[in-house]
């Protein structure tokens, strides 16, 4: 676990980065989240899991930050998974059309299992 700041934490499992936005996913947490993901992408990580297990609330600015991450990862040909979403989060992402660019799982373990099988050049 790398406690870079109190809003976002992360860990690396093999070639995958697992990131935990905490509390309120707004502009501040969103920027930290983008920064965290960018660092992993720049290091060559192509598999990222964002776990919402520690996310209590979200707003539209937080959602726009998630779009930035999707864009960055799409540009590198990477894979993004969302896990541990509440029903409200799932429905919101579905309604806005985000789910077509990510793969969602109920748990982090399921996402890691899935990504193990995915190979990136």
């Amino acid at each position: 676990m790398t406690p870079k700041n109190f809003r976002v934490s992360s860990k690396e499992i093999g070639d995958t980065a697992v990131i935990y936005p905490q509390g309120y996913l707004n502009n501040v947490t969103g920027e930290s989240l983008v920064q965290e993901c960018t660092e992993h992408i720049e290091k060559g990580t192509k598999k990222i899991v964002i776990s919402f297990s520690k996310t209590e609330l979200i707003n539209s600015i937080g959602i726009s930050m998630l779009l930035s991450i999707i864009e960055k990862l799409l540009n590198t040909g990477g894979e993004l998974c969302f896990t541990d979403m509440s029903k409200m989060l799932k429905d919101t992402f579905e309604m806005l059309g985000l789910t077509q660019y990510i793969t969602s799982f109920d748990t982090e373990a399921e996402a890691l299992n899935y990504l193990k099988a995915v190979s990136h050049p």
């Binding site: 539209s60 600015i61 864009e71 806005l96 985000l98 077509q100």
Partner: protein, 564 residues
């Protein structure tokens, strides 16, 4: 008559619209705007707004000459209309110049003797019009009547602000017999294109008005301006002021709930206040209000208003009976499309009769929808139509029975709603305070976690939007939560600018992904969560109103399962 309007001080929350309309001649001259097509629901106060503009210009030392004309079904024959329009203009012009309102109503001196010496050209115009009338040249009369304000504006070097009310009737102007000539409204093209004569045109329903401007020579000559319903507190002030004048005491909590039920419609509010007075009520208690309401929807001014529109739209009594049955059936079927297909079989009438009846009901504003037929969300109209149905179709109408039916129907509405208020200072993450407060409200309402979280998200978005756009010095936003077992309403007020939600572009994720500007999801989120989102202007504040109808499965019925 343009002077037949409420006192200016009672005309609440339309300052912005008044100012804009009064500035129309100036804006027209500088090519900022054209003519205005003023739209709004039946009874929303369009006529009142025109009359207030008229009166305000009339008594001010204004460089603009006001002219108000309301189309009437009795004067739609072209020659009669031309005479009426021309006479009204001359009367109003002379009245304005002399600041003598009695001239408008035709009291006092004969018209020709009221003409001031400096306006002898008016006498020439009147003589020319008389010659056309004597010659039976109705086209000439029509052209002369419509050109009269343009002529006056040119002679005086002052713009004439022309306000045309009930303009939907212009499509029914005829030459000799009703329906013989449907394009006479096109004669307005010439005066409407005069830069010295900006027009404000209104009427209802919107579809009838818009079709005049879409199908003939008037296409593109007017811009839409929508008169939105009064906000709750303005509607309450309006009701309160009416009651005070009539010597009736009202209880704010009861009245606010009741004017909200009336969709804050000024026509309904005025009618109920007058009904209280006619029934010698000294107080507007809940029971009194519903008693007056029952009377209003069956025999009062509201019933008269809607039933006259109904008879105007459908003149044949046999078709009226079919229309009442069609409407009742659609209400009972909750607007289900398949119900329309079954109508000929159920009612025992031809498909053609059903089609024509549906079209007539839609033209008159009793049904809505760009495509198809939807029942309007106006409980008052539905009750008026139900009462008509009871009287004319069932033959079972009895005032006491209707009153009981209405009291029973709205018993849930009569239960008092709770109200919570809070003020937030626009500061980073202040929206979380509102979200936290809502958590407790959701618990009190026994909302399940899913719906509570969704509403919380909508609330957060509305607060962020209010804080980002709150102008003014105080930088505060004001929240009110109204809760009842079946409804939640959240009002978020700020000094932010008014915006039209229809003008906000719907964001597309594919576009946003490659765009540098990834924000702009707030309104879409709010609209997807709430049942209704209204943006209202209340004097110097903008209000975002979020409404959610609480369904049975969105409430926790076992208190042991309550969250938190």
């Amino acid at each position: 008559m343009p002077f037949n309007c409420i006192p200016a001080k009672d005309f609440v929350n339309r300052k912005g619209e008044m100012l804009h309309l009064k500035r129309l001649p100036e804006l027209r001259e500088s090519h900022v705007t054209g003519n205005i097509l003023l739209e709004g629901a039946h009874g929303s106060g369009k006529t009142e707004l025109l009359k207030q503009v008229y009166r305000s210009i009339y008594w001010e030392d204004s460089p603009v000459i006001p002219f108000y004309y309301a189309f009437k079904s009795a004067t739609l024959k072209a020659g009669v209309f031309a005479q009426d329009y021309f006479t009204q203009f001359i009367r109003q012009y002379i009245s304005f110049s002399a600041k003598e309102p009695a001239i408008v109503t035709g009291r006092g001196l004969p018209l020709s003797r009221s003409v001031p010496p400096a306006s002898a050209w008016l006498l020439d115009m009147m003589d020319e019009f008389e010659e056309l009338r004597n010659a039976g040249d109705f086209y000439g009369q029509l052209l002369a009547a419509l050109a009269a304000p343009v002529h006056a504006a040119t002679r005086r070097g002052k713009p004439v602000l022309i306000m045309l009310d009930n303009f939907q009737m212009a499509s029914r102007l005829y030459e000799e017999t009703p329906g013989d000539f449907s394009a006479l409204a096109g004669f307005f093209e010439s005066p409407m294109s005069s830069p010295l004569c900006p027009h404000i045109i209104t009427g209802a329903p919107e579809s009838a008005l818009e079709s005049i401007f879409a199908e003939n020579a008037l296409r593109g000559t007017a811009e839409r301006m929508v008169l939105r319903p009064l906000p709750d507190d303005a509607a309450h002030s309006f009701f309160k002021s009416f009651c005070a004048k009539l010597g009736i005491q009202e209880d704010p909590e009861t009245s606010v709930r009741f004017v909200k039920f009336l969709s804050c419609n000024p026509l309904y509010i005025k009618s109920i206040a007058r009904s209280l007075w006619r029934m010698h009520k000294k107080e507007a208690t809940q029971r009194d209000l519903w008693e007056c309401y029952s009377h209003e929807v069956s025999e009062g001014e509201i019933a008269l208003y809607w039933s006259s529109l109904f008879s105007e739209a459908i003149r044949n009594p046999a078709i009226q009976r079919i229309a009442m049955r069609v409407f009742r059936h659609l209400v009972e079927a909750d607007g289900e499309v398949a119900a329309i297909e079954r109508l000929p079989m159920i009612l025992g009438v031809s498909e053609l009769e059903v089609r024509e009846t549906l079209a007539a009901l839609k033209t008159a504003g009793f049904l809505q929808g760009r495509t198809g037929y939807k029942i309007p969300k106006d409980p008052v109209l539905l009750d008026v139509m139900h009462s008509l149905y009871m009287q004319d179709i069932e033959g079972k109408y009895h005032p006491e029975r209707l009153r009981e039916m209405i009291l029973e129907k709205y018993s849930a509405h009569n239960r008092p709603a709770s109200c919570f208020e809070m003020t937030l200072l626009a500061a980073p993450e202040a929206e979380l305070i509102a979200a936290k407060a809502f958590e407790q409200i959701a618990r009190t309402m026994k909302l399940n976690t899913d719906i509570a979280e969704r509403i919380q998200l909508a609330l957060i978005e509305a607060c962020i939007n209010a804080m980002e756009h709150s102008g003014g010095i105080e930088k505060k936003i004001f929240l009110k939560f109204y809760t009842s077992p079946s409804r939640l309403e959240i009002a978020i007020d700020s000094a932010g600018h008014f915006f039209d939600p229809e003008a906000v572009e719907d964001p597309e994720v594919a576009v946003k992904l490659t765009s540098a500007h990834k924000r702009g999801w707030g309104l879409k989120l709010i609209q997807s969560i709430m049942d209704e989102v209204r943006i209202e202007r209340i004097d110097d504040r903008t209000r975002v109103l979020l409404i959610k109808h609480i369904k049975h499965d969105e409430v926790l019925h076992d208190t042991k399962k309550l969250q938190g």
